[in-house]
Subunit: 336 residues, 4 copies
């Protein structure tokens, strides 16, 4: 196993699907800023009912100021999360960003270029939230056990490291926890992943990778938020090292390529992403989408793809703590 | 992500838990051979009701001739698995091997040293078995859909590569799919993993790693089989590249260390293993066991371990196709 | 077991929780009509973003014209559902109905008085929809099996019977499949049940019973639709006998009684309702809510309630085919 | 809903499948006694490795003395279960009983005639066992929550009632929790249900009903135990009112009728039984087996059966607390 999350380079992007299929492909577009001020009110539900805060063209760049998942409310290790947080006002999102020309059936490509920490130290926050997490009774896995205690951990984060404790320093491996276009008519809280994307909490969704999202509403309506300075597979306690960032993304529009679920591309692999409960269903979705992708775009026979992934498929557990769980299934580009 | 399964070295074993705690620790024991002839009848159920085929002392080495999961019955790509295979006679096991002095509450440590392919080419077999696999209706996920077609793939395997197709050559990354001590009074078919070990299908359980198994019956009664020349995460079609091997293991006995579920140690990480359905339960077990391990043997506070694993825990999906699914949860030794 | 769904009387309502706690309690309110014309466009997502079609006071009566789940598009047994239906435009809802004075934290009580069939015969529709149902691969339980065939069954329905086939006539046991107040900020498609109610498909939710729904948006915003002329436990093929109705409900508002999940009351039992995946989570929610209800409103000790329900609790499986599954857990009023 | 479990009569048995197909059909066989003395050691694992305690012919009657699930070790409300009970020595079984002529592929029919309480009062025991039950963290649904407290309830049981508390008296509705023939080569602990039967905890499996079990080992090897004086759907706290009985059964052998999973027949319905995790898989198995039964033995078209069960199928939740969960799916004989 790879015990430390590796970083992905940006230099392969000229060979990416985004570059080949995107309308804004080669040309470097305009750069926009989506600051805290421009955003104004952050959003907690992802749908077609909010007015866009920004309009862009295919290939444009956006510099986004994300807030941490608690919108900065947890500032000290003596804070009690349940006294400061109110469901469903968790996991604030930037957006929606309107992509000119995007229509149902298109794909939005989001290349994350860089993620820089913002704000005063200790800017990273982890905590244990009542009835939320992987090793606890929850709202859905409902038991009569006493809840776990609430705990807060404030950690220094810079572009090198996450200073977890006296004993342990973790490498800075930033990624975006929540990324999505709007569903067609639903509006889904920012805690839940589904086929629109949402709160997938995939550690690979960081600088150097491109996420492909299905477009279902006019203008795509891109939402982004929930930056993590690092995160383990599964986000077991329910919370990563949450922190505010300045995140640079390039966004392109792909016509004539319809996908049901989000996909991700890195320098050396492609990944299909499923979100569902139970976790085997998320895994089934991810692998089925990957088989379909290999058949449609890489000329594989369906059964050959299926049997071959049984030998060389790799999975990443995003989270198994949100209202739906997320699994990514990947194959090395070597075999494509 | 790490797109190719890495190989684990053997040279760290002198620093292992097995070396430190095992009765046979430093001394290199006697070498035994468990050939096809010695084994005689291979076994399809793992329990205390079969007579041992071999008795060993702590620290002894055993060279085992494993058969492939179909006991060699599938020899051609025109074979139809359902005509040749009969449930429950799948996944033949070597053993049981009796460990002198082993009692309920002890741990058996199994260091896999090497796995060499045996038999005539093409010695690797993959296939699609009726109502078995990750992307199909099964005996338990019972639907009215027509079953998938049956397919057989015979592949050449040597100590370098698995020659999957004209298009794709995969690296040889051998591991043991099924490893266990006997349950106390039950006898569990060799297709099912549980807290005794069994059919875990973990790609990490290969040369260079040590598996720790709970002892529940007198003499431990070790079973081993189901070698894979390579396998993807989840073993999605239900079958890896199954092949016959000559596998060398060293087996030690640890007193005074009681574990509920199997554990694995490699050069740079430790892993706790859970097997259950749904898959989130396997994940919960694995992470809870890892937290408990960190608390008991590495001095971690429970909540610190829990929150920290949310930042640096890694999981490996063994299978999500067997009657129970297997997940391993791991932490880098750097943080211990 | 009770092999035929029994009918519930209306004559116990004067002893109901609604009667005791509702603002409009004793007094019989104004009667409103919500016809197809008044409704205009039926809705496919349940949220706070649609304008109310009707405003009522606590205790008012509403006569609602519901459309069938396919909005009347399936008219013949030779129809192919996938050619006529378009996701997410399934399961049309009437509403939202604005309840004066309703605020987050209140409860809306909906007494279903009667349900009469509407429209020309054969007015009942059952069908098999591609990748939807309990015994098939689906969008979430994603496999590579060929989908089941699409089938349509049109059946005559009157207030006595459902004329299923030459061989089988089923008793008319009408109920409302989808009933909910709006979530606070989300908008959830009408196919999915959750803690707001939604597509629960509970056969007990028919004439003679009262459903209690949590209020989360100003005015409660009641949605109602998806009438079934009869339905088995679990709605196994994914579709009941769907039909258009004239449904009479009385709606009341309860202050000072906050609930997390929907509840149901009949002449001789109370029921708590959970919706989740996997199905054991729906069952856990339902039973935990029932324990809490017994503790809070009926003076039970928590552990006594828990152990006693282990002896006399009854469950009803609503559906195990929707994006979330629904289970009701009930106790006889005799024991309260 | 039917809020009180009804009793089933015995007078329909002359019209049963057992009567029509059983070798011992019409004739009333010899009566055997399987007393505590004859049984000697009760068994905790169900397999082919124990010697039969009794041999019978098709149609014979056996009067069995079952012990309660704790083998009488819990005698007082001040007892602490975890101090008295030791896994896996829970749920003692009588048997195995050898049926002359039974071979793999046959069916054993077990008609429960009567169940009478035995032993001194209070002879009924309910308790809360550490990490076991529906609303608690368990060995498989592993969390870090503190376990629930351990509680014991001793209750008087006679042939009329279960005297639960000063407030509540429950009707006596006895049934057998655990009933099975031996698996072919496995031996499964008596806490786990699967396709052999086992710990199904179905409240319908009482006097007046016939259970059909697949035969997989020579002589069938019938095991029986785990009597409940009453039990709610799901056995939510993990324990029913456990008690010792004198149970009279008639056992017959059916040739030429092979089934994969247990089935049950009562006066007015037939039921197929599935046991699996997650609970939707148990439900899928039960409904698929019921469809297959209707097709094979009652001339139904597969899709007609599937769509019709969506209108009139009934389910019974056996348990959702054992290592696998049990669901029965039933249809009224009226429709056959």
């Amino acid at each position: 196993m790879e015990m430390v999350m590796r970083s992905y380079p940006n230099d392969w992007v000229a060979d990416s699907i985004m570059h080949r299929k995107g309308i804004g492909g080669g040309s470097s577009g305009v750069t926009h800023e989506l600051t805290e001020e421009t955003q104004g009110t952050y959003l907690y539900t992802i749908g077609p009912y909010a007015d866009p805060v920004l309009s862009i063209e295919p290939g444009d760049r956006v510099i986004v100021e994300t807030r941490d998942a608690f919108e900065g409310k947890i500032t000290s290790e003596s804070d009690v999360p349940s006294e400061l947080l109110e469901v469903p006002f968790l996991n604030p999102q930037c957006g929606p960003i309107f992509m000119a020309g995007a229509e149902k059936g298109d794909v939005l490509a989001v290349h994350i270029e860089s993620m820089a920490p913002r704000g005063p130290q200790p800017r990273g926050t982890c905590c244990m939230i009542k009835e939320f997490g992987g090793l606890t009774s929850t709202y859905y896995t409902a038991t009569l056990n006493e809840p776990l205690p609430e705990k807060v951990r404030k950690v220094k984060v810079d572009e090198e490291n996450v200073y977890w404790s006296d004993r342990v320093t973790l490498p800075y491996k930033p990624h975006i926890g929540t990324l999505s276009c709007s569903p067609q008519i639903d509006s889904i809280n920012s805690l839940t992943p589904d086929d629109h994307g949402g709160n997938m909490d995939l550690p690979d969704m960081g600088p150097g990778t491109i996420t492909y999202l299905p477009v279902r509403a006019p203008g795509a309506l891109l939402y982004i938020g929930d930056a993590h300075a690092c995160q383990g597979d599964g986000e077991v306690c329910g919370v990563a090292v949450e922190y505010p960032t300045t995140t640079a993304i390039t966004v392109d529009l792909i016509k004539g390529w319809t996908i049901d679920w989000p996909r991700l591309e890195a320098d050396d692999f492609i990944m299909a992403i499923g979100s569902a409960r139970p976790l085997e269903d998320a895994t089934r979705i991810a692998y089925r989408e990957l088989v379909r992708w290999m058949v449609k775009d890489y000329g594989y026979d369906q059964w050959d793809a299926y049997m071959m992934l049984s030998q060389c498929g790799k999975v990443r557990l995003g989270n198994f703590v949100d209202p739906k769980y997320t699994m990514g299934a990947a194959i090395s580009k070597t075999y494509l």
